[in-house]
Amino acid sequence: MTYHIKAILWKQLKDTLKNKAILIQFIMFPLMTIIMEKSISLPDMPEHFFGNLFAVMYIGMASLTSAAAIISEEKEKNTLRVLQMCNVHAAEFLIGNAAYIISICMLGSLVIGCSTGYTGITLLKFLLVMLVGHICSFLLGAAIGTAVKNQMSATSITVPLMIVLAFLPMLSMFNETIKKFSKFVFSEQLFVFMNDLSEICITFESGIIMACNAVLILVIFLIAYQRGFKISK
């Protein structure tokens, strides 16, 4: 049923590019990276400071909120039902949305990576880390969008989650206590990788944490998926 996925991609391009709230999510951090990296450099500031910081915020915000917003809007406006009556399966719907959101976020990530000054292999590693982050974040956003009934409740869940994912890594740089907790969040782990892209070494601890995060996200996603899409069958 590739034409269903194709149609959904086409629709997203037509629709979301007119949706300013979502457009801003996609563009804001790449744009800020360009500006900050070009204009500000402080002494004894870690290398690629702004780039990595905005990159991790981009992971915690863009794919999470846009996935939740797009899916919950489809539920709220009853367009999801129309899709189901065109025999679009839940999996096709999610693949269509994932393809769209993650592609755009990866384009944004490329902009962040390049303007941060990553090149060659390092850029590829950076993009790989970003891809993992966007996938996790998309799955969480999709789970939220699927579980709730409308955009309002989607926002009320994404905002606190977004703060945890996007800001904990930054706060943990300044506070050791926060660091003790924040290391359990996948975005913090990715932030650590980003800060040393030349030799990513996955320690036993971070390996376990990432695996637990992945399992947890998948479980949350599958529960929401089963409950939210059971409308008819």
Binding site: Y3, H4, K6, A7, W10, K11, K14, D15, K18, N19, K77, N78, T79, R81, V82, L83, Q84, M85, C86, N87, V88, I231, S232, K233
Partner: protein, 290 residues
């Protein structure tokens, strides 16, 4: 008689259908048969369960009990090929607000993988060609209604479900939608519509069912139902001198009316037949429009 009807081409069959949301029994033991090519109207006040029944018939909701079949298949077993023969217009439209009229139809066409439809022509037919590029959120209610209708018939369905297709519209748009529904009937489409407008039901429908609190309280052709409840059988005459006369509908009244006619005294004359609203009142003590 009933046994014979069932032998005809049944498009929708509903048997002992029940539905409840928690403790709220919304549909109680519904039995209905709808034949090919007919316009069937489900008439009832707000909250009677009309939308719920459409949701069940179109596979959007699983009934708590009983059976139903659309073209011989249960809605819960419908696949893509079955859905392609069904057109649905829900009361909340389900259109993409930021996308234009054209793009909304185009997307639907892409989902069906059906490239043979001339969308411009469709838009012209519903008088929306001028608004082709207008985002749906800038359309009036009547325009959205027509667009949702056009989307429902885009795949030239065999069965068309319309949930209150004309509620809250101006008379001109109502007329336009009625014409489109009748055109669908001409094409051979079976139409299942809900309404709380009895004039609409009388005008369009071959058969109607009156639904009250989830129960069907009356079923039949609108004229038949009205005749069945014509217990009063009275004739009202308004004379030119201003007097109103009510006569019993019997043998004697003929002579009297003859006299009035020959003296050229009559201004207006009509028989008091109950309409669907008064029948519904008689049956339930409620009105259609809450």
């Amino acid at each position: 008689m009933k046994g014979m009807v069932i032998k005809m081409n049944m498009v929708i069959e509903i048997k002992n259908l029940n539905h409840h949301f928690g403790d709220n029994k919304v549909l109680k033991d519904i039995n209905l048969n709808i034949t090919e090519g007919e316009i069937f109207g489900l008439l009832g006040p707000s909250g009677a369960g009309k939308t719920t029944l459409i949701n069940i018939l179109t596979g959007q909701l699983q009934a708590s009990g009983g059976n139903c079949n659309i073209m011989g298949i249960s809605p819960t077993d419908m696949t893509g090929e079955h859905y392609k023969q069904i057109g649905i217009m829900m009361d909340n439209f389900g259109l993409y607000e930021r996308m234009s009229c054209y793009d909304n139809l185009k997307f639907y066409q892409m989902l069906d993988n059906n490239e043979n439809i001339n969308i411009e022509l469709v838009l012209e037919n519903i008088n929306l060609l001028a608004a082709k590029k207008t985002p749906v959120m800038n359309l009036s209610k009547g325009m959205k209604n027509r667009l949702a209708f056009a989307r429902a018939i885009l795949r030239t369905p065999k069965v068309l479900f319309l949930d209150e297709p004309t509620s809250g519209l101006d008379p001109k748009t109502v007329e336009a939608i009625h014409e489109m529904i009748l055109a669908e009937k001409k094409r051979g489409t079976t139409v299942f519509l809900t309404t709380h407008n009895m004039y609409e039901a009388e005008k369009l429908c071959d058969n109607i069912a009156l639904l009250n609190k989830g129960k069907i309280v009356e079923y039949g052709a609108p004229q038949d139902i009205c005749r069945r409840y014509n217990h009063q059988k009275k004739i009202n005459i308004h004379l030119k001198n201003g007097r109103d006369i009510t006569l019993e509908h019997n043998k004697e009244c003929g002579v009297q009316i003859q006299t009035y006619f020959s003296n050229d005294e009559i201004e207006t004359i009509h028989s008091t037949e109950p309409n669907l609203e008064t029948i519904f009142m008689e049956l339930t003590g409620r009105r259609f429009e809450a």
